[in-house]
């Protein structure tokens, strides 16, 4: 299981209020949420993101609210994986539960630049930066997480 795409890079403490501002939480529609993804820190994100692209950020990604709308908006915008130094714990759980793969890898978060072409192998946890010809070792996904991601979320995996 792999992800491959161009990188959208962000800094520390990207919180759920900027991932999807609360003023849009009056809907649960995935496409509507995706239309406002990252709006308060990067108004161009929704115009430049392509299916399969990868989001990379520094420490404490997804801090703040428990809104599952945040990983839903990221996933529905086409992002195939988020890499960060660390994730806030509720976001981590929510992302896995809805089937959005995320990987903690401080080295990758530091060295990958905006626009780099990156490939991720979830079974091995190896992150390859094709632009810079570098590889970084992230946390490999255990089988039960691979199963949740492949099933497109926790509830589907329980069926």
């Amino acid at each position: 299981m792999k992800a491959h795409g161009r990188v959208h890079k962000y800094g520390d403490n990207v919180d759920t209020d900027v991932i999807i501002p609360a003023r849009y939480l009056n809907t649960t529609d995935h496409k509507e949420l995706a239309a406002h993804c990252m709006e308060d820190i990067d108004t161009e994100f929704v115009n430049k993101v392509n299916e399969g692209d990868i989001m990379v950020a520094e420490a404490n990604f997804g801090c703040g609210s428990s809104r599952e709308h945040a990983p839903i908006a990221i996933k529905a915008s086409g992002i195939s994986c988020v890499i960060a130094k660390t994730f806030a714990r509720i976001f981590y759980r929510n992302a896995i539960n809805i089937g959005l793969p995320i990987i903690e890898c401080p080295e990758a978060a530091e060295k990958i630049n905006d626009g780099d072409e990156v490939e991720i192998d979830f079974e091995s946890g190896v992150i390859t930066n094709r632009t810079k010809n570098e590889t970084y070792q992230g946390q490999a996904f255990p089988d039960f997480l691979i199963n949740i991601i492949n099933s497109n979320g926790l509830l589907n995996s329980l069926k």
Binding site: N13, D15, D17, V18, P21, A22, R23, L25, N26, T27, T28, E39, D40, I41, A59, N60, C63, G64, S65, S66, R67, E68, H69, P71, I72, T86, A88, R89, I90, R93, N94, N97, I98, G153, L154, L155, L158, K159
Partner: protein, 419 residues
Amino acid sequence: MTMTQKILAAHAGLDEVKAGQLIMAKLDLVLGNDVTSPVAINEFNKAGFDSVFDTEKITMVMDHFTPNKDIKAAGQCKQCRDFCGEYKIKNYFDVGDMGIEHALLPEKGLVAPGDCVIGADSHTCTYGALGAFSTGIGSTDMCAGMAKGKTWFKVPSAIKFNITGKLPEYSAAKDVILHIIGLIGVDGALYRSMEFSGEGLKNLTMEDRLCMANMAIEAGAKNGIFAVDEVTLDYIKDKVDREYKVYEADPDAEYEAVYDICLDEIKPTVAFPHLPENARTFDQIGDIKIDQVVIGSCTNGRIEDMRCAAEILKGRRVADNVRCIVIPATQKVYLQAMQEGLLEIFINAGCAVSTPTCGPCLGGHMGILAKGEKAVATTNRNFVGRMGHPESEVYLASPYVAAASAVTGRISQPSELTD
């Protein structure tokens, strides 16, 4: 084991657990609100569940965008109302009964010491004030919790805060927790428990503790938890009418770090935009003009907060060009504030007083900021765009500081008015 580890072990049916261990734990309460529950209900229906685990151990509180701010928000509440009706969920709280969830549930006696609680709202960590393990989760976990009455946890390690002393006049629990977040950072307790204990606890009221546990998430913590004492037992005695168990940390419990917090040294503190860790005392603040003050939220919307604000606002006027919005967190707080004459003080001072709602705290409604505006708020987050326009600013503070700032029109501490 730490207090949290003991509660988790008991709910997993184990004698002992260790930090990092994955466990399946029974739940005493599953909570959702009008923003997170609809996502959980959609998943519940998609998964094909046809029953909930316990009609008395699930609660939904319509507090975020209520009274309904628009047609879509009304639809989300209707979805929750219909679901709770269909599945006979007893503790459904709608406009007229509802309050801000984390002020309401302790008041209703729905949380007791030793409970294991999950809520699809990050400030679910508030109930740690009562000596419960309580943590925020997302809608999918809420859905699974409603169906099965259990969920998996990774057992957290802990950081201990040894509280001593007594707060000086006009210093508040909010100042203590802002000071702590400033000390350890917004990810300083990531994945961990924050355990509060020590001889100074006796000088913190239950409302002080609810305020502090509420903001454990702003340090990244999985939960915040207070040792149970006379103050706790006195608070729950006329609220909780079921059995509960008090857990204490073992004397040899392991902590990743121990911080000594002396309440005598706590000064009025303000967290600057755009992170709660940007804590400053008044020697580092300067002259900052403001446009709005919000006094309320799950952090500081309880009766003692209303009294603190009223103490400052009594016989004074809100400054010209400042809007001051006071939001009692529950109907009970609202009524009590009315009976004590606090609402009259607020209205005579030129404040708007609102029915309970999370409203402006998360930029929902009832006090949204325009581009470039600044607000002092007793809420819990000051992220970019949190209360409105992405170029507005929120400064977090205690009800004392918020009320004093409303009077002067700039960020002020009460001593500026009373000296």
